[in-house]
Amino acid sequence: MKNDKITVSVLFFASYKQLLGVSELNVELENGAIIADLCRKLLENAKNNEKWQQVFASETSLKIACNQTLCDPDKGLQQGDQVAFFPPVTGG
């Protein structure tokens, strides 16, 4: 039987991790979901939570990686993918 759900792991780094108080969580999505769907679901789950809106509203500064490669919100997701959200980098 074909599974119609996928589970992805989600990571937050730096100021996002601190703001949201979470570094890692698992999210169940419909098969065929893209990263924008994941963002929507995270926002729904955190209903009325300004902090989550703050992170996901910052379109210019929000960076996204899927399986450790930078990507856009329209990237399709597969079972077991690792999606990371983080602010612009400040190393060196």
Partner: protein, 166 residues
């Protein structure tokens, strides 16, 4: 064991939560240099703060796995672009005090221009691409304040220099 690795591989890349042993990394770049007589060594350290804003420490975190891949990609591009006898890139993570080294980038080349350019290229891309984040810890009138460092637009601007030449 690490030293054996160096003889075989001209590239050394490390991310560590231990204090950087600069003398050790200097030797790595300058020993057995052969015909690669020009070496450039860059060290970036935590600033010792001015009086009004007293920086007591800095925390550095990164995305394990992704950071190493990104740094390796930057080094690979530098190695394609310039003939380099050695490249050493070491980045510190964890809790750092003012004056402690954060990053060490060194290149050895046949001539100084290549060594300077490659070191600068690696640092410029490390600043904009590598998944590290800094948080500064200040002490102001006896109260501790934690501030995430903001990315600088000027760092993005610097990349244009390399992109024009591509």
């Amino acid at each position: 064991m690490k030293q054996t690795e160096i003889h075989l591989n001209p590239v050394y890349l490390a991310i560590t939560d231990k204090a950087l042993d600069l003398a050790h990394f200097n030797r790595m770049v300058q020993q057995q240099q052969g015909e690669y007589g020009a070496s450039v060594i860059f060290t970036g350290s935590v600033r010792v703060s001015s009086a009004e804003k007293h920086l007591v420490a800095m925390s550095l975190e990164h995305y394990p796995g992704m950071t190493e891949t990104l740094l390796q990609q930057i080094i690979d591009k530098a190695v394609k672009r310039w003939q380099l006898g050695r490249v050493v890139v070491v980045h510190r993570v964890g809790y750092l005090k003012p004056g402690e080294p954060i990053v060490f980038v060194a290149t050895a080349a046949l001539h100084r221009r290549e060594a300077f350019e490659a070191a600068e290229y690696i640092m410029d891309y490390l600043k904009t691409d590598a998944t590290f984040w800094k948080q500064e810890h200040y002490r102001i009138n006896g109260v501790t304040k934690d501030v995430w460092v903001e990315a600088k637009q000027s760092d993005q601007q610097r990349l244009k220099r390399w992109q024009q030449k591509d």
